[in-house]
């Protein structure tokens, strides 16, 4: 499936430290660690940078942990999963000041979850940079039961909360950090096309 250019879906860029920022908070997952290293290695901004890292289980992410450790930043928090990482982020943001910049990198669903949490904590969109690294998985909200599904790699996808088969639309909500999932066989029950994987 080709990546879409729909206007509600965010465009991801390449991380670059903002020199004027008083505090940098980098929130990365899996291969996102490498995007951070590419942007920050040897940069003086590291002295004012807090890194939150969530390795992806069952992958060889210890190398990425080593890469982050070698950056010698102000503080490095390792989280065992995204939920825990978001908890740490909320605590840190509760004392954040105007000059704070956020840098988010990892899979698209990771970027969506972190961005939507940061917006909820009052961070402005233009204080957040994003770079997509890793699998082209999506975070989806089932429009019927409102449940969220992380790490969706193809459409249609089964909603684990209500059991409907969902067409994953390209329409994206930053507030929710998710694509819309809507019943694919409502007009013709049981008529399911084979799942098609998302492109990068």
């Amino acid at each position: 499936m080709k990546p879409s250019t729909i206007k509600s879906r965010p465009l991801y860029g390449t991380l670059a430290p903002v020199p004027q920022a008083t505090q940098h908070i980098a929130i990365v997952e899996g291969e996102g660690a490498l995007a951070l290293a590419d942007a920050f290695a040897g940069h003086e901004a590291l002295r004012r940078t807090i890194i939150l890292f969530s390795p992806i289980a069952h992958r060889a992410d210890h190398d990425q942990t080593a890469v982050l450790t070698s950056l010698s930043c102000e503080a490095l928090h390792l989280a065992s999963n995204v939920q825990e990482l978001l908890g740490t982020l909320v605590t840190i943001l509760s004392t954040a000041t105007m000059g704070t910049r956020l840098y988010v990198s990892g899979s698209e669903d990771f970027i969506g979850r972190v961005t939507s949490e940061a917006l909820r904590q009052g961070i402005e969109m233009d204080a957040i940079q994003t770079e997509h690294r890793g699998a082209p998985t999506r975070r989806v909200q089932c429009v019927h039961c409102k449940g969220f599904i992380d790490g969706v790699s193809a459409s249609p996808a089964l909603c684990p909360h209500c059991g409907l088969h969902l067409l994953v639309r390209d329409h994206y909500s930053r507030r929710l950090g998710a694509f819309m999932g809507v019943s694919i066989d409502a007009e013709s029950p049981g008529d399911l096309p084979p799942p098609e994987a998302f492109g990068a």
Partner: protein, 346 residues
Amino acid sequence: MTLSFHAETFRDDYTFANSPAAIRAFPFPFDRDAYMYTVNIEQHVPGPVQSATEFPIHIDEHYVAEMRDRAITLAEDPLRCQSLPHMMTAEWDLLELLMTSMATHYPAHFTLSRDGDRWHWINRPMDVDQTFTFGDVSTLPQGPMEYVTRQCQGDFCLLDQREDNLWMDAGMVTSQADWSLDFDLGMNFMEWHAPVPLAHDLGVFERALKFLLNLQHGCPVRRLNWTMTINPRLDTSPENYHRWGIDKASVTPENVGDKVHLRVELQALWRLPRSNAIVFSIRGYLIKMDELVTQKKWARRFHRVLASLPQPIADYKGLGRFRDTTVAWLSRHDDGLPTSPGFAPD
């Protein structure tokens, strides 16, 4: 004007129907035999007597039944009515706009008396008698937007204006053509319009937004939009699509006249005085094909519009399963004669 309100339903047994007067007042949206997206915005000035645009806010014979249907939808899904915290001033602006307009133009049904901030609102059809303090939320049973839009026909969005854009930061949306307020809440003009085909490339949204950013208080504007709905169902939301989607598969050559409805949205936009927000009202009208073809011109014209509709627009509106059947049915009501210019029936 005194209206008599129908006891009718928009779900289950679907008893909704239009009187001959309501058919004549129907805001038929086509002024030519073909349709394409354009920046179709005009001043919201009073139209002919007994038309949908006679008054700024149009109340008709379906009022009480529509409000009852809204209450059912809200009870099942409270997220159809949402407002971000910074929209409270705009909510009061909306309450003022709707109450003053309804009381001015339908005095037999609604009365508003004001004594400074002490307001007294009487809604006879819904048996409401409410005294409250304008600006004090604690004096109303719900927030001002929810309170007044539970008593006014049409869906409503409140748009905050900042960063040269409009933001959908509040709304009451229970009778939508397949879009979700809960999903679109907080989006800007380009983001919530993202799923629409063709119009972005035609520059329609860029020009429309530019126009709206300069909308002035006291100079409301309007436009028409349309789609088609199977059965007279108001709640065609994505949330419940797994319930109503199947109806599209139920259309046969025998039941087109009764089941297939043209659904028109009379959309109006007002700049609000205190908040500088914009109200976007989406006043929906339904008409079944049997009713539509009582007006010869509309029958001919809608047949031609539907037959020639560009495929991306038909797909976006979700007409795939019943378009051909409906075109075939309508062809029996099209004698091939020319249609006169303009929207009105002959």
